[in-house]
Amino acid sequence: MKIRTRTAQPHAGRDNIGQATRWVLKGFKRERQHLIPILQKVQDTLGYLPRQAMTEIATYLDIPTIDVYGVATFYNQFRFNPPGRHSIRVCLGTACHMKGGYITLDAWKRRLNVNTGETTADGEFDLDTVACVGCCVMAPVTVIDKKPQARVEPTKVDGLLLAFENERKARGKSDSNGTGGSRRL
């Protein structure tokens, strides 16, 4: 099975984690200061930071693996499990919180049946929170596949999921090899 990538790169696949990591590393000098940009680019390519990739990076920069792991876990941006096809990021900034962002997050958790930081069993969605995307006037905001959606309340969560379901059905018709299994709304 292939890992879905957010930006399609030719080398991305579970068997090819090492290859993809090395492909990224080629663009950087062996200096510690490039560690964070490297991690960002690897995550951009693979969608997450697999253990193998972190080991490769440590060898390349000639630093202990624990240092790579320490940096990666320190920052909120990095994730350690494969992403879903669609990313759901619920904004929990001040304005969003006061306008019910926590209620929206509950609704997403309930509908997708996952916790924050997790991916649905069918690999369709991954759910996480974000500190603030700076669209406070559109609160509460949910960022879906990098696009901020304004005023996402529980009813809109259902609407957005329905749109995904319809899209998936349409995709299923045109591509019989599409991922099977339907998710109950």
Binding site: R32, I36, L39, T94, A95, M98, V130, V137, A139, K147
Partner: protein
């Protein structure tokens, strides 16, 4: 470096001529500007942009459609501004593709400016109210945000045609010390929140020994509820780059870093474009404008850590380490990035610099108060009518910002508090509304300027909950380096969480206060030292709310989910209406034998959808606190 470089002046004149030629516009040409910063895009600006471009093409109009940044009227996004000869530029709000098509048909092809969709005009006329007559115009003064929403952020020439980079060209002809003196005279203080005098920081950076020196632009706007830096970088990136280059010249730096949050993808994209264009125009890189000064800026994407807004943590982050602050001294201006002298400035500080060089220190110092010169930029959000970006002279009162500029509280609700400065700031009550906003007054009141987030709270917002929210944030973002912050924030959060569940004892309030004061005194960096501010201010001004939570198990604002219940008033519920039943997200509402709707309290998740769904003529859904108020059936 020589004091006079005639080649530089000539080179810049050439660039300016080219830019002016491209952007002066043909006589009689109509120009359409579409605000498409992140907030505009969330409201659908890209669809509007597409419609306008299609229409212009369809009708073969000679009418450029330009994507611009944010004007600050975020409440009315998407915004479209049309400048048609014979009319003042008119700004339209809440535009959708249908309105956009109508504007082309009626105003551009016809001659009807559609005043029904207009928000305001940039100039007096008989049809549309002028922005200058808006109540907010009396209080606003745009310096840093002057260009935002009026120029194309992806075109360096548009910035130059409007007077951009003239300050850099001028600065390169000055003695670096003269620039620092000018900044000192202007009284500019750091816009990141702490308010350190910028001129003094540059001076110590200049005097420090060691090469190469660095200048870092801090746009790690981690405050939840603040978006000034994002709007600035998305709308006018060159202004920040120009300010950085001037800073680089003044302190004698060779390289600059601009540290932007990765959560701001559009700002990153706009900066990348801006950096490329500045290099192509020889306004960045080796031998700027053919002179002796070389300076290049690299973009660094932060990875989401609030503590990295602290300058030493930010520097550690660029070096590839976890963002953990270190002890000062030595100051960063002596030992900073890679051990070299480094000046770290907020991007709003840097964006003020070109204006000071262009107009002079006296002009800048003429605005604001004696100790805090210039303007303050706020991101106004929460329960206020005109949410958006606000720039006012320092010393404007909170009341003027919230009621005159912001238009007051919507839906006739009552003002309760204003939260300033995010997790490091505090909540100020109505009694503090006549306080002038400047660095020192806010600190005296227990809040802080912070980076400039201002969230207005009304009677429906719970003060204990907001304190808990901020502590949850600072506790998660604590880097773990010092004990007071690592353990103190955790303990405070646990106490506050208990309160929002109606648990705890009254003595716990004093324990919380003691703990907050200890963390404030004992923490290592700014994050820990300011983390207790939301608690201390809410305790100082809203202690009764804490007591009510603990003693009565009641949330007076009806917000804390564990202390409220939704209830449908049987005498108000309409038998024939099923609005709440259909919208309930967990199927917790069902009609009883008399077709009166009843909420199953076991199933209810307290999302409040039924309250919004209940038609206003019935208004049958109410919130009760404590939950035991719900009558037993």
């Amino acid at each position: 470096m020589t004091a006079m470089e005639p080649a530089v002046a000539a080179a810049f004149e050439e660039i300016r001529k080219r830019a002016k030629k491209r952007w002066q516009g043909k006589p009689g040409q109509t120009v359409i500007l579409v605000g498409a910063a992140t907030c505009g895009r969330a409201a659908g600006a890209l669809e509007v942009l597409k419609t306008l471009r299609n229409e212009v093409k369809k009708h073969h109009l000679d009418c450029p459609v330009i994507e611009v940044g944010c004007q600050g009227h975020c409440y009315a996004e998407p915004l479209v501004t049309i400048s048609k000869p014979g009319y003042p530029p008119i700004c339209y709000g809440y535009v959708n593709p249908v309105i956009a098509e109508k504007l082309i048909q009626e105003f551009i092809l016809g001659d009807n400016p559609c005043p029904e969709f207009a928000l305001g005009a940039f100039g007096a006329n008989d049809l549309v109210p002028s922005f200058a007559d808006f109540p907010r115009a009396k209080y606003e003064k745009k310096i840093v945000l002057a260009n935002c929403g009026h120029i194309d952020p992806t075109e360096i020439d548009h910035y130059i045609a409007g007077g951009g980079y003239a300050a850099l060209a001028r600065a390169l002809k000055m003695n670096p010390q003269a620039i620092i003196d000018e900044i000192k005279r202007s009284g500019l203080r750091g816009r990141g929140g702490a308010g350190f005098p910028t001129g003094e920081k540059w001076q110590s950076g200049r005097e420090a020994r060691g090469q190469p020196k660095y200048v870092v632009g801090n746009a790690d706007e981690g405050d939840p509820g603040a978006f000034m830096d994002r709007a600035l970088l998305e709308s006018d990136p060159h202004c920040v780059l120009e300010g950085m280059s001037i800073a680089g010249y003044a302190v004698g730096a060779r390289y600059g870093y601009i540290y932007v949050r990765a959560e701001y993808p559009l700002a990153v994209e706009r900066l990348q474009t801006a950096l490329r264009q500045a290099r192509e125009s020889h306004l960045l890189g080796a031998h700027i404008l053919g002179g002796h000064f070389s300076f290049d800026i690299r973009l660094f994407q932060g990875s989401g850590a609030f503590v990295c807004g602290e300058a030493t943590a930010l520097v550690a982050s660029i070096e590839g380490h976890p963002g953990i602050p270190r002890l000062r001294p030595p100051r960063l201006t002596t030992r900073g990035l890679f051990g070299k002298p480094t000046v770290v400035n907020n991007v709003k500080t840097l964006a003020s610099v070109p204006h000071i060089i262009n107009h002079g220190a006296a002009w800048f110092a003429g605005t604001g108060t004696k100790e805090s010169r210039g303007t303050a930029v706020f991101a106004l959000a929460g329960k206020v009518v005109n949410t958006g970006l606000v720039e006012v002279p320092m010393g404007t009162t909170l009341r003027q910002i919230i009621y005159e500029v912001g238009g007051g509280i919507p839906k006739g609700k009552r003002f309760k508090a204003v939260q300033i400065g995010g997790p490091s700031g505090g909540c100020l009550p109505e009694a503090a509304l006549d306080l002038p906003v400047d660095f020192d007054s806010l600190r005296a009141a227990g809040a802080m300027m912070g980076s400039g987030g201002m969230v207005v709270l009304d009677e429906d917002d719970c003060m204990v909950e907001i304190a808990r929210y901020f502590l949850e944030f600072t506790q998660r973002e604590s880097c773990g380096h010092c004990t007071f912050c690592r353990l103190g924030t955790k303990q405070m959060l646990e106490l506050l969480t208990d309160f929002t569940f109606g648990k705890g004892k009254v003595e716990d309030i004093d324990r919380l206060k003691q703990l907050a004061e200890d963390v404030k005194d004992g923490s290592f960096c700014g994050l820990g030292r300011t983390a207790p501010n939301p608690i201390l201010t809410t305790l100082r001004y809203f202690r009764n709310e804490y007591e009510e939570h603990i003693t009565m198990g009641r949330c007076p604002a009806l917000m804390c989910p564990h202390l409220i219940a939704y209830y449908i008033l049987p005498d108000k519920c309409e038998r024939s209406c099923d609005a709440c039943v259909g919208t309930c997200t967990v199927e917790a509402i069902s009609p009883n034998k008399k077709r009166i709707k009843v909420i199953d309290q076991e199933k209810c998740v307290k999302c409040g959808t039924c309250l919004k769904a209940c038609p206003p003529q019935y208004n049958a859904v109410v919130k009760l606190s404590p939950p035991s108020e719900v009558p037993k059936t």
